[in-house]
Amino acid sequence: MKKSLIIASGLALTMSAAAMVAEAQQVGQRPVQLAQAPAAPPAGASPTFDAVRQRGFVQCGTNTGLAGFARPNAQGVWEGLDVDVCRAVAAAMFGDATKVRYTPLTAQQRFTALQSGEVDVLSRNTTWSFQRDVQLGLDFVAVNFYDGQGFMVPRRLNVRSARELNGATVCVQPGTTTELNLADYFRANRMQFTPVVIERLEEVTQAYLAGRCDVYTTDVSGLAATRSSQVPNPNDHVILPEVISKEPLGPAVRHGDQRWADVVRWSFYAMLEAEELGLTSQNIDQNMNSTNPAIQRFVGATGDFGRMLGIDNRWSYNIIKQVGNYGESYQRNVAPLGIERSVNRLWRDGGLMYAPPLR
């Protein structure tokens, strides 16, 4: 009798932790007033927006350290394509791209961290998939990198195609779409494999390099990042030609907080739009007095897009001035890894990057 009481109260306590976090982030309780003038967004309709504004910085969930996407540099400052999304959001919210704090998350921790309100935005090379969008209580707001899953093997194994991998031991991180695609691919091709599933990127890479596995699989960008930054001799490893899945990576926010989702989405699209308009961190000041109406709208000289979002009207100017446009971010972070821009070019250059019109 006594024992069961103790157990019950133990369960209750643990649940309380989860619930309290949830309470702090209650969503959609107050009615949204639809009849308001467009320039004045409904006050208090977005708990995350209000919380971020009050706190004075954006809490950003990132990778624990992936070259090109999210990694602290030698000075301890976070850098990368995913980091730039968070910096853009901070520039839009506060006019200061440095007002971000980072929470490095493993693949397994990331969704719980976002669901429970530990981070405001998850920008951690995360694949937008049906189940995550529909069942996990997340909303993916955009795609900031189009990727696909590949395989890396040591050159001395003399493997030329993923079809030759029957019987191989494969290193993979748990809680990823990669893990599931891997099982699917081998099953579809009637091949056997032995998985070695290790959570932290550093340790899974170490296991691959030690020869614990024949193959390391993750998104091709991740393979390239690992090969260029963590492997003693990059030429000893080859990335196989097969790309076995679609991996659209993008930032995600909690489901149901539309206004915050809008801020994150359009902060990213502003970076794309700027590239399309030819605006860079270098030339945006000269373009402040441009007669091009699209640029006038963009820098906040006309229109009130910023105020519609409930933030400074020079939000997009601040993003480009401090973070740069998407092309600049790509050149700075991803290009040094030797990853071609290919499908991540702008639509008019034959890529998939396409921002809805900013008007």
Partner: protein, 397 residues
């Protein structure tokens, strides 16, 4: 419970009056208040959680148990394919946890007892070495030790250059691969005979004990047991033609296949848990032996018992009474510490449940599952050890 003697203090004849000065009334009042408060908190928490899960459209319930898991698992004691459902994946995890826990508990007990006795040795060097072992191992974080052992095992050579200490035994970066007997009906018979032998040994021991009580005559029970458990099955094995086909490892394109493979993840976790826990067990054993006064040894000697008999019949039964309760908590610790497996990629229940939690997004159910598993395992160990403790407890006659 404690209210009965208090109510007896109530002056006789006085009618039952509901007064706050009455300890009985006060006790009942406070119990109602506390139960009510706990109930309210639980009600609020559950309601709030459900509301928020709904608001964010996060799925809930355990229906996902029967959906296809899709996740690959490195080592499984039962047949497992990624096309199996989540429930089976969880069972694989539970079995892996039990496997590491059971093997670690057995080995840690043996090693810990040896080191505990060594600490009391009259040989200065042996005693000091044991002390250094205990002080070093138990003062370093277990996670650090696990990572150390894992990286040591990762410095072994690749498959093509595998160490070959014995014929067909390969030691390399992916573990220790050895020949393993293939299952045959003959092997089944041998194992069955061995099982019968074990049961028979216990029966013989019971009979020998009773006879010794009655007549004082002793029976060579040790040799009888060896005969029943080892010699008899061996004889059956030889009579059937001594035919034992082995599954022998061979080098394939990527891997050495065949036989049985003990993975470095399992080995690193096992070495880490055993050496760490043995340090604590050593101290428990030492304290247990020192708790028995030296007079007992002298008394046993005076009765003419040999040293071995004195240890087995006089010292150990008394030392065990001191040893068992803290030993129980060490066994519980081993089981719980096995969850550090996540760090080095051994697929235990925490690792698998975390992955499932991540794939399905159902954190509360996932954590609930992990809690239920550990609670069940821990309470079972506890119940068994309590039973054993009662059995060896001092019987006051």
């Amino acid at each position: 419970m404690a209210t009965a003697p208090r109510s007896a203090r109530r002056p006789p004849g006085a009618g039952v009056k509901l007064s706050f000065n009455d300890p009985v009334v006060r006790a009942i009042f406070w119990q109602i208040v506390i139960v009510g408060a706990v109930g309210l908190v639980v009600w609020w928490l559950v309601g709030n959680t459900v509301r928020n899960l709904e608001a964010r459209r996060i799925a809930s319930g355990f229906d996902y148990f029967w959906r296809e898991a899709g996740l690959p698992i490195g080592e499984a004691m039962i047949e497992y394919q990624p096309s199996d459902n989540y429930f089976r994946a969880l069972v694989v995890g539970v079995l892996n946890t039990l496997r590491i826990a059971v093997v670690s508990i057995v080995l840690a007990t043996i090693l810990g007892t040896l080191i505990g006795v060594a600490r009391l040795s009259r040989n200065w060097l042996v005693a000091k070495l044991a002390s250094v072992y205990v002080e070093t191992l138990r003062n370093l974080p277990l996670l650090l030790q696990l990572l150390f052992w894992y990286s040591v095992l990762q410095s072994l050579p690749p498959p093509r250059e595998a160490l070959n200490p014995l014929p067909h035994v390969y030691l390399f970066v992916r573990g220790l691969q050895m020949p393993w007997p293939q299952w045959t009906p003959e092997l089944g018979t041998v194992l069955a005979v061995m099982g019968i032998g074990i049961v028979a040994s216990f029966l013989v021991r019971g009979w020998a004990k009773r006879r010794q009580m009655l007549t004082g005559e002793q029976f060579p029970i040790g040799w009888t047991a060896v005969g029943l458990v080892v010699a008899l099955p061996l004889a059956v094995f030889v009579m059937q033609g001594a035919n034992l086909p082995l599954d022998v490892p061979t080098l394939g394109r990527f891997n050495i296949t065949g036989g049985i493979l003990i993975t470095p993840e399992f080995t690193a976790l096992l070495i880490g848990l055993v050496t760490y826990t043995a340090a604590f067990i050593a101290e428990i054993v030492r304290s247990g032996i020192q708790a028995v006064s030296h007079g007992q040894t002298e008394a046993a000697a005076a009765l003419g018992l040999k040293r071995g008999q004195a240890l087995r019949l006089v010292i150990l039964p008394q030392a065990l009474r001191v040893i068992i309760p803290p030993m129980t908590s060490q066994y519980l610790n081993v089981t719980k510490n096995s969850s550090l497996a996540v760090a080095i990629g051994y697929p235990d229940i925490v690792s698998i449940a975390n992955t499932i939690l991540n794939q399905t997004g159902q954190a509360i159910e996932g954590i609930g599952t992990i809690m239920a598993v550990y609670l069940t395992v821990s309470l079972s160990i506890s119940a068994f050890m309590n039973w054993y403790n009662r059995r060896i407890a001092l019987r006051e006659r």
